[in-house]
Symmetry: C2
Subunit: 263 residues, 2 copies
DNA sequence: CGGTCGCTTGAACGATTTCAACACATGTGG
DNA sequence: CCACATGTGTTGAAATCGTTCAAGCGACCG
């Protein structure tokens, strides 16, 4: 495989060929019905269909993109959840964000830049694959798509801003509450889960690496939130019993439900 | 002024009308000669010229955009430095990023979203003003510009990712070293300063609010870095004596000098 | 001159990390 | 089947990093 996004995982998974056998036509894109996503119209979907080169699948734990390489493809999440993280040389890891259906994966690749982060599947995932080389055609041929692309980049930037505020200003319990609410709401908006609860396997070690906390302190703070009856976060399930209480505990403002465009 | 980006500052500055009297033609854009910036070609500059509605000036301390409002204009930095920050309800402040010449200000405004942050001038600044309403024309009429726009959004996202890693994984001294290097290099790339030193007035309180540290601890860590002869950061000047040493102290990787497009 | 701003210092306190151990479930090879 | 390793969560105790409170200093300004 000449491609640099070799899906060999550092952690768990055994090697697995992305099976691009079946392929969902964009006209029947399952994401159309997500209330958190605003679908492109039929004409756009036809055009996207032509742009899309294939579909890829990865199992939980596999790496989709690796930090430091120049990838030749970009992706869109069709199904499943992934994380995006950066490793420092001494092994410290910062999880930068979670990726849900409709999200763009590896936008940096479009600019021929070295990736500054890796991407790993948190669940089994299906991705739409787009070739980098024809990426520039997008802007030329279909301005609305290009506009949406900028929109998506801006939206991701806003999410990172939120996380930044969290790491900079909130203490451990507030960060946890914030992240729980963030994930549950993103899950609900993208059809991964129903309101208030998200079934997703996240280890405490991953939570710690997202929030810049030690594993031990993450564990204790999680217990504290459970006692407060604000958030109950287990290995397989995140539940926020009282969304409003949790939001105000974490000092979250702003509308949770702005529908996002996707490609 | 019907516009919601009223430049009345919460902090210092007295009210000042943006004087759009003189206006630099884009063909003679002073940023052309910045080695850190890759200028649009002549054709593009002509088109940008038409898109640009005016120029605005703000003095140090003035607010350019205010969190929570829907702005009708977006800006580009022609000269000077600004900060972008978010306030929490209880008064905590997180500075999200610094803005240098060539940077886009208020991209969120383009999508009719409420701004999630405020923007304030750190020095006297000159901004190019673009109307939000004609923004969509950009994508339609000139794909390359639209492409650059996405590029800029992606670049800003990458910067936030860097800051996020800093807040999540680095201790106080490392964060300070990282920020100093970041600012000095951005300054050098955009012609604000010469290599190794940046003349820019930043209070320790602002540094603290950027790095998620208390004022007192910021002060002590700054002194420690001075004793280590890594970074000497005073109210008016940031100097990094040994760039390589500072970079490795802060565990920074990746190329500092990727030329950025601007508009 | 009083007042504000930015910086500095000391000391006590508290949040978070680190070290170390153990419990529990799962999977694997002998 | 057991023995063993591995991944995840939990707990206790000590150490460290960072915060908070409180005070003082010099510069600048009206």
């Amino acid at each position: 495989m000449a491609d640099s996004d070799d899906p060999k995982s550092l952690t768990i998974a055994s090697r697995q060929q992305p099976a691009s056998a079946d392929r969902v036509p964009c006209k029947e894109c399952p994401l159309i019905h997500c209330r958190g996503l605003s679908a492109p119209d039929e004409g756009q979907r036809a055009w996207i269909e032509a742009f899309k080169s294939s579909e890829a699948r990865y199992v939980r734990g596999e790496q989709v993109l690796r930090q430091g390489v120049r990838a030749t493809r970009l992706f869109t999440v069709l199904e499943g959840v992934l994380i995006r993280y950066r490793l420092l040389e001494d092994g410290r890891r910062q999880i930068v964000n979670f990726l849900f259906p409709g999200d763009l994966v590896g936008l940096q690749a479009a600019f021929e830049a070295e990736l500054t982060h890796s991407v790993e599947a948190m669940t089994d995932v299906r991705l739409c694959v787009f070739p980098r080389d024809r990426f520039f055609d997008l802007a030329v041929s279909h301005p609305k798509l290009s506009f949406d692309l900028t929109w998506m980049a801006a939206r991701e930037e806003a999410a990172l801003e939120d996380h930044l505020v969290s790491l900079g200003q909130r203490n451990a319990q507030e960060r946890l509450a914030y992240l729980a609410v963030f994930l549950v709401q993103r899950g609900a908006a993208t059809g991964v889960s129903r309101e208030g609860t998200l079934r997703l396997t996240v280890t405490q070690s991953q939570i710690a690496d997202m929030l810049g906390l030690s594993l031990v302190h993450t564990n204790r703070s999680l217990q504290a939130l459970r006692r407060l009856k604000l958030v109950d976060w287990t290995l397989s399930t995140i539940s926020v019993h009282d969304m409003e209480a949790a939001r105000s505990f974490a000092q979250m403002d702003g509308d949770p439900y702005i529908p996002r465009p996707y490609i």
